[in-house]
C-alpha cells in the first residue's frame, strides 16, 4: 500500500477524526471485521425472541438455519458484519482483522473486541410471520423476508440476465443467495404475497420500510419490459394490502426508460433507484460488464436523471458500492484517488436531484472479486465516504429518507441534518 493509504484501525481513526461519531466508526469496523455471536448470546437472543430457527423446508435447503432479528447499537444504528445470520446473504465472507463477538453478561449483551466489551448492543425481535405459512402452504418468510429489523424484503426474483451472460457485476453474489425465485409471479404467488403482507402488518410498530429487489431482466417487447411487469404486479398487490394508491416502498431496479418509469408510477411506485455502482468510466466497464453491454454507463446515468422528473427530488437514489473502485489490478491505488472519483460522481448526481448513497463493499462467496482474493478497502475510506456523501445531501438540500439509517447501512450521518432538509431546489443544482 502506498504512503497515502495506511490501513488505520478503529482507535487510530477515533483520534484522527474527532468530529466523526466514534460509535459509527465502530459500526463501520464491525462490517469490515465481521461479528459472531457466542453461545450465551445465541441463547439470550432466543429467550428474547430475536433468533428464529428456520427449518430446511422453510428456506429450501436440507439443513435448518438460524435467522437473526438483528442487533443495534445504543443510537439505534444496526450492528453490521452479521450477514450470514440473515436470509438475504450467502455464508462466506472475506473479512479483515479480528472478528468481533457479541456476548451476554448478566442478561445484557455487548460487542466484544477481543476480551474487552466495547459497546452495549440490543437485540431486535424476529418478524412475527416467520414460521407461518400461507393457506397454500408457502412459508411466509419465503414471500417476504427482512433485513434491518424495520425493513421488509421482497425479492421479485434473483435471476439476473447479466449472470446468465457471465457478465455479472464483479462484486455481486445475488443468484447464490438463500432464496431462489425465478421470474414470473403467478396469480397464486401474488395471493401468497398478499396473504403474507396482511399477516406481516399485524405486527404493530415493527415495520417502516419495504425494499423491492430483482435482477436485471432483459426480456420483453422492449428490454426490461418483463422486469417492469413484475414490479407492477407486486406494486398492485401491495396497493391492495395497504388500501392506498401509493406504495411507500423503495425499488431497486434496472435502468428503465421514461415510459417504463411512468408505468411503475401509475402502479403506485413512489421511489426508484437504478444503481450506478461505480463512477469511473473505465472501472465501470471492467466491474459492471453487463450494465456496460446493456446499454452503457451513460444510459444508466440518464435513466436516474430522468427519474427525478417523474418521481421528484428526494425520491430517486443511485448507489455506489463503496470500495470496489479500489479492486486490483485496474482500481485506484489510494484512498484519496478513489474518493475523489466516487465523490465526483456522487456530487454529479446530487446536483441533478438524484440522492447518492453508498454501501460498504463486502467480499461475498460467489462473487468474482471473492474468488480473486481481492483486498477490502481500508476502514478510513468508508469513514470518509460516509462523511462525503452526507455532506453532499446537506449541500444540495436533498434527503434520501427512503434509504435512511434504519433501512440502509450507511445513512447514519444524515441524522444530524434531517431536521433541515426540504428537498427544494437550491442554487447550484439543476433538477
Amino acid at each position: 500500500m502506498s504512503e497515502q493509504n495506511h490501513d488505520l484501525g478503529f482507535q487510530q481513526l477515533v483520534e484522527k477524526y474527532p468530529d466523526f461519531p466514534q460509535l459509527l466508526i465502530r459500526k463501520l469496523d464491525s462490517e469490515v471485521r465481521g461479528v459472531v455471536m457466542s453461545e450465551r448470546a445465541i441463547k439470550q437472543a432466543q429467550e428474547e425472541g430475536a433468533l428464529f430457527i428456520a427449518s430446511g423446508a422453510d428456506v429450501g435447503q436440507e439443513a435448518s438455519r438460524p435467522v437473526f432479528g438483528g442487533a443495534f447499537f445504543r443510537d439505534g444504528s444496526w450492528v453490521l458484519g452479521m450477514e450470514p445470520m440473515f436470509l438475504q446473504f450467502p455464508e462466506g465472507y472475506t473479512r479483515k482483522g479480528n472478528t468481533y463477538t457479541i456476548d451476554t453478561i448478566d442478561g445484557r449483551s455487548w460487542l466484544f473486541d477481543g476480551k474487552t466489551p466495547v459497546e452495549e448492543v440490543f437485540f431486535a425481535p424476529y418478524p412475527a410471520h416467520f414460521g407461518k405459512k400461507t393457506r397454500r402452504g408457502t412459508p411466509m418468510m419465503k414471500m417476504v423476508s427482512a433485513r434491518f429489523p424495520g425493513l421488509l424484503f421482497i425479492y421479485l426474483y434473483n435471476r439476473c440476465c447479466f449472470w446468465a451472460d457471465q457478465m455479472q457485476c464483479k462484486y455481486c453474489s445475488f443468484p447464490t443467495r438463500v432464496f431462489k425465485r425465478k421470474p414470473g409471479f403467478s396469480q397464486e404467488d401474488l395471493d401468497d404475497l398478499q396473504e403474507t403482507m396482511d399477516e406481516v402488518l399485524k405486527d404493530t410498530g415493527k415495520w417502516m420500510n419495504i425494499v423491492l429487489l430483482a435482477g436485471s431482466e432483459l426480456s420483453g417487447p422492449a428490454p426490461f419490459d418483463n422486469e417492469v411487469a413484475e414490479y407492477v404486479k407486486v406494486l398492485t398487490t401491495l396497493k391492495k394490502t395497504f388500501g392506498t394508491e401509493k406504495v411507500y416502498a423503495k425499488m431497486v431496479a434496472s435502468a428503465f426508460s421514461r415510459d417504463q418509469m411512468l408505468r411503475l408510477k401509475d402502479a403506485g411506485a413512489t421511489t426508484y433507484q437504478p444503481h450506478i455502482e461505480v463512477w469511473d468510466k473505465k472501472l465501470f466497464e471492467w466491474i459492471c460488464p453487463g450494465k456496460t453491454k446493456y446499454f452503457g454507463r451513460q444510459y444508466w446515468i440518464d435513466s436516474a436523471l430522468a427519474a427525478v422528473e417523474i418521481f421528484g427530488r428526494g425520491r430517486v437514489c443511485t448507489q455506489f458500492v463503496g470500495g470496489v473502485e479500489m479492486m486490483q489490478p485496474y482500481g485506484f491505488k489510494t484512498i484519496d484517488e478513489a474518493l475523489a472519483s466516487t465523490l465526483e460522481g456522487a456530487e454529479f448526481f446530487a446536483s441533478h436531484g438524484v440522492g447518492p448513497i453508498a454501501i460498504m463493499h463486502r467480499l461475498e462467496t460467489g462473487s468474482v472479486f471473492y474468488t480473486q482474493h481481492q483486498k477490502l478497502a481500508p476502514l478510513e475510506y468508508h469513514l470518509r465516504l460516509m462523511k462525503g456523501i452526507s455532506a453532499l445531501h446537506r449541500k444540495y438540500n436533498l434527503s434520501v429518507d427512503f434509504n435512511n439509517y434504519r433501512c440502509h447501512p450507511t445513512g447514519d450521518l444524515d441524522r444530524l441534518h434531517t431536521a433541515h432538509i426540504t428537498n427544494e431546489l437550491i442554487a447550484g443544482g439543476t433538477s
Binding site: 461519531p21 466514534q22 443510537d75 439505534g76 440490543f122 425481535p125 404493530t204 410498530g205 444530524l416 434531517t418
Partner: protein
C-alpha cells in the same frame, strides 16, 4: 449517580407536572420541548417517546449521544416544586418491547394516524431541587451579601 430523590420521582409520576427537555444544536442554540410521557425505568434511567425522527430535539439528542453531551430536564408541579435533572442520552430504541410499549401508548392517546419514531433513554448524572424556597435558603447561606436590605432576614422592619 444514585437514584433520583423520591420527591423528583413523585414529580415524574405526576401527570400534571410540566416536563421540559432542553437540548442544544451544533452551534449551541438551545431548544426546549415538552415531554409529557417522561417515565422512570426500573434501573433509574429516564425514558420518553420522540414522535418525529426529524424534530430538532431528536437531531440534538442524536448529536448529544454521539459526542457525549448533556441534556437537561425541568420538572415543575402546580405547587411550584421544581427539579432540574441533567443527564446524557444513553440509548435510542426504535424496536423491541420498550419501544412497542411507548408506541402503543402514543397510538392510544393520539389516534390511528399518530407516529412514534423512537424512545430515548437518559442516564441522570445530576439532580437539583430548584423549588423557590429551597433555592432561596441555599442562596442566602452561600451568598448572604447578595440580599437587599429590605428583606426581613437582613433588617427588622417595623410593622
Amino acid at each position: 449517580m444514585d437514584r433520583l430523590p423520591q420527591e423528583a420521582l413523585n414529580l415524574i409520576k405526576n401527570s400534571e407536572t410540566i416536563k421540559i427537555l432542553t437540548t442544544v444544536d451544533e452551534d449551541g442554540n438551545p431548544h426546549a420541548a415538552f415531554r409529557e410521557d417522561l417515565t422512570v425505568q426500573d434501573d433509574g434511567n429516564l425514558a420518553f417517546g420522540e414522535p418525529f425522527e426529524g424534530s430538532q430535539t431528536n437531531v440534538n439528542l442524536v448529536r448529544s449521544l454521539w459526542f457525549d453531551k448533556k441534556v437537561e430536564l425541568t420538572l415543575r408541579d402546580r405547587s411550584g416544586t421544581t427539579f432540574q435533572i441533567i443527564g446524557k442520552p444513553y440509548r435510542y430504541a426504535h424496536s423491541g418491547p420498550l419501544f412497542k410499549k411507548f408506541y402503543l401508548a402514543e397510538r392510544e392517546k393520539r389516534g390511528a394516524d399518530s407516529e412514534l419514531a423512537g424512545v430515548w433513554i437518559i442516564k441522570p448524572e445530576e439532580v437539583r431541587n430548584e423549588t423557590y424556597d429551597v433555592r432561596k435558603k441555599e442562596e442566602d447561606e452561600k451568598h448572604p451579601f447578595f440580599r437587599h436590605f429590605d428583606r426581613a432576614s437582613v433588617r427588622k422592619v417595623k410593622s
